[in-house]
Symmetry: D2
Subunit: 326 residues, 4 copies
């Protein structure tokens, strides 16, 4: 009896502006091998893809070989799963439209699926995290920017062009702070990393109160949260204001989507209660009445990087199998 | 050969705070017979359902008989297709939770589907209107309140509890106008019928300029729009401000959903260019860059009442067949 | 206000081995204009597509013009909606793999969807016929060959390569009659047009009984059915044997798919009770117990050609809009 | 911050005519604890459900407690996921219609999903086995009876009443062997356990050739396969005839469904090459031309019992969460 080669592993790739992580993952989400490198080393996207391909092939050859890998899934900022392009990524070194999925497929000879980083995070939470078993939920990724993705009837909502979920660029303050996208009042300018620092400066400027923040070498969401942990009132006020704005944005999102849960992920979510408590309070104050008290607001239980690599592996399983080899 | 009775007609019912319309509709959306009555005549929901049932049965008996009707679809404000209840409808005479779908099914003996009026409008646009052939789009209903519904992958997004699309209660102005829902700054307080009138009063109060609006017996979205048609600058300013706020709300909605089109329906959409032009301008100014210039903003080509009855008929086809009779 | 061009019509094309029919159809299935020509006139597929394109453009120009047409849907034997190819069609003049969808799209400059004729028939019954409102059903097309399609959860089951539904080539008699496909015992060899004629010859040969069939100039499913209408016992026996075999095949199909209904279409279904009664009897005798007496066996209420053009129009709406023009 | 209780485990239950197995399973398919008991001990279904409930509660209390369990999934012969009933199960002690899902839900106070054993096997192969990443495939379970399930567009095909996949009761031999279901010629009478034994008796009776089978105390699929392993020609002939019939049935199935793969599971599939080689040969001889050589015929890589418990756990995640407790 001739045996068919049923492939039981995929490669998940998570490209962020800082690091690119790639791992061999099996059906149940066990990471067989994982490596990463500095994304910014490769200013030219061709060099990047060449190096990434070589590194993947090397890892694969050392872990069971080419013919055991079914496909590849890629998470990248500003990627569209519909076009297969990264388009106008503000935080990546490569400008304009980059057909990364096709480039990788041609170099490696395996099927490649690609999607927006926030969409992949949501897929990770759905497949292996807190959203497992939910059919309507929102995942919000809080970091340098604010990504998001929601599921409708158990499937990721992709949108007409693959750019749904741009939560960070919803306007929460008409004529508000100037955003890197050129608009004013985007939620990101208040809840993104730079926005929180800006709020901290404003809070300190408008008050005479003593604060540990005044002694910090570098203001960042993390250092501000550390001040909160020490009971610093102004630092707590910074996250209170941040949560207030985030709560409005989330309430608007929920009034439209009616989710079972909203899951907060990403570096800034690690501020924990300092962020989540005021966010939840503002959320309940602003969300439509029929949903008040009913939407679960959660922080992710998974490690961010692991979830994104696992989400990319789940994406890999969703593309039709294709191999130059067999 | 025994012949199976394949039923080729359904009943579509549209319940609004003003009128209840019911019609016999065939597969292709031809309205065979249609009648309506004043919803507010029946302050008690039991009386309402009894009368509605009797009227439907009478219409059905006069048009081919019971055994030709497959099922019934109902559009109602604040209805959830998941619970089958009308819940806390602000503009209907019946308070609290009303299990209208079951009540009607028990009285008539046929399968009954029920959904939110905005969802039924979207289903009508999808089945017979401008959204036919689209898989991701938004329908916004502009009237006393602001309803909405969006489609994801060719299906209505329902949400976890069936209350998605509460666009009118998204916050566009923190600490803004007081809404009937108890919150402040809801979009409805600026773009709903009462909100537009309020803006008109504000515009007239803050200006000395002559205006036809000052002579109106009754300020309403319609009479204000008529002033616009006559070139009245302050009236045009009223719709300009209205469109500006609506444009922000729609931009936020689109940044999250990434639709192919947004279709405006309902009484206020009949203001036409006076509303749509400033809305579109504000929309393009606020929507996420990758979608700018790409989302079609349309007004419905269908008559509102006809579309809602047709949408209800499409809903009727989506529920499993059931009949006490045969 | 710039107006978007929302297109409200499509072109449906039905290619059969005999005739090619094309029509302009609106959203509700009204045929605006329809023409047809002899498929076999064009032995070369390039000539065929060129002529078809020119004829479509001419019809379109005479009926509202190019910019009113959204897209084109094509029904063809042995077509795969996955590959977009007609593959090894036994009854068409063009051999091998023919990328007809792409050829037509390039010539006309509009989006083209293509699917197997049986799949398009099912789509027609679902959108405008007896299957409207059903989510699990089978449509069987009885003609020269036997096509079929079933719906699963409200969508056409396409299969991995787009070749599902090859009901005519299921084996009902091990080592039975030789089929054109090279196998023995295919259902088509008993229930297809040639198979019925063969059965008629066998029935006449193995009996001395008088029969109107013995005087027929040409034995065909239609002329045999006419003999049945006149009470001819041997002719009735022909259809009894045909229905017996068809009933076994359908019972096997239903035991696997568990449909709400099986709808019989195509020329041979016009034999009516002579075919349907013994088919149903054999079906009930062979189908799995839990389904016995529960599956509706119907003949189509639509004209075959109209349904296929309408089904092709429904297919046209399902492909993403694309136009070289605007 | 109040913490929501996100439940990370479910209970999977596999009820077969021999044993009932129940296990606590986490999101990734790790079995935390598993026990089983003899199904036939409980001739009365009320006793059965009471005992099963108590045993599950005991296991759950010993492994993290009630509030960590999201829901329960049950695999049972002749169960319909649409009605929630076990209906007319031929091999279970409980006759007629048994509303097992509701009975269990009422006793345990958690959401319960139930489906046909073959459907749960397919879900297990899809979630954790060889079908992971496939969207159209068939799983056939070969044991006392022959169950099956196929996936369409990535979802299990359920059918109108939940009884799809009755592959064992498709007719492969008109007027053939009498089946327990009352029909003649069902595939099960040739390929089910009793059918194989019957074939062995026929083969031995019609031949004078020596055979190890003649000395067997008990003829069974397993003992016959052991004879094959020892090179016994008549035993090999038994499986050759079995595979021939199975190949016809599978070819008919595939011609209708067009799957990417057919996965054989269940006790009889353990005969391995003796069954699979002639099955594949007969399959290729009978399947429709466009699929010949393209359908992967596989045996399951998972342990049958483990797969069914895991499949039941996947089913548990698909039902909406519900708990009497919190």
């Amino acid at each position: 009896m001739e045996e068919y080669n049923i492939k039981t592993k995929v490669v998940g790739v998570d490209i962020s502006n800082e690091r690119t992580t790639y791992a061999i993952v099996d059906i149940r989400g066990n990471i067989i091998a994982e490596e990463s490198f500095d994304t910014a080393l490769y200013r030219d996207v061709n060099s990047f893809v060449t190096v990434l391909s070589e590194k993947i092939v090397t890892l694969v050859e050392a872990n069971g070989g080419y013919e055991t890998i079914r496909s590849i899934g890629v998470s990248a900022p500003s990627a569209s799963s519909i076009s297969g392009y990264i388009e106008n990524a503000t935080n990546l070194p490569w400008k304009g439209s980059v057909p990364l999925a096709v480039m990788l497929r041609e170099r490696i000879g395996l099927a490649v699926g690609m999607a927006n980083d926030a969409h992949v995070s949501a897929l990770g939470e759905y497949t292996f995290g807190s959203a497992h078993g939910m059919t309507n939920f929102i995942v919000i990724s809080l970091g340098v920017g604010l990504g998001s993705c929601f599921f409708s009837r158990g499937s990721e909502h992709v949108g007409h062009r693959g750019f749904s979920g741009e939560f960070g660029h919803t306007c929460v303050e008409d004529h508000g702070r100037l955003c890197g996208c050129g608009h004013r009042g985007c939620l990101e300018t208040y809840v993104g990393a730079k926005g929180i620092v800006k709020t901290a400066v404003e809070v300190m400027t408008s008050s005479d109160q003593a604060s540990l923040m005044r002694n910090l070498e570098k203001l960042s969401p993390r250092t501000i949260a550390e001040c909160c942990d020490k009971g610093d009132e102004l630092a707590i006020e910074v996250y209170r204001q941040t949560g207030y704005k985030l709560g409005i944005g989330m309430a608007n999102y929920a009034s439209i989507v009616d989710p079972e849960a909203i899951i907060l992920t990403g570096g800034i979510s690690h501020a924990g209660q300092w962020l989540v408590d005021p966010t939840r309070e503002s959320f309940e104050e602003h969300v439509f009445g029929n949903m008040r008290g009913k939407v679960k607001i959660l922080t992710s239980k998974l490690d961010d990087r692991e979830r994104d690599v696992l989400g990319a592996s789940a994406l890999a399983w969703s593309v039709p199998e294709y191999s130059l080899f067999k």
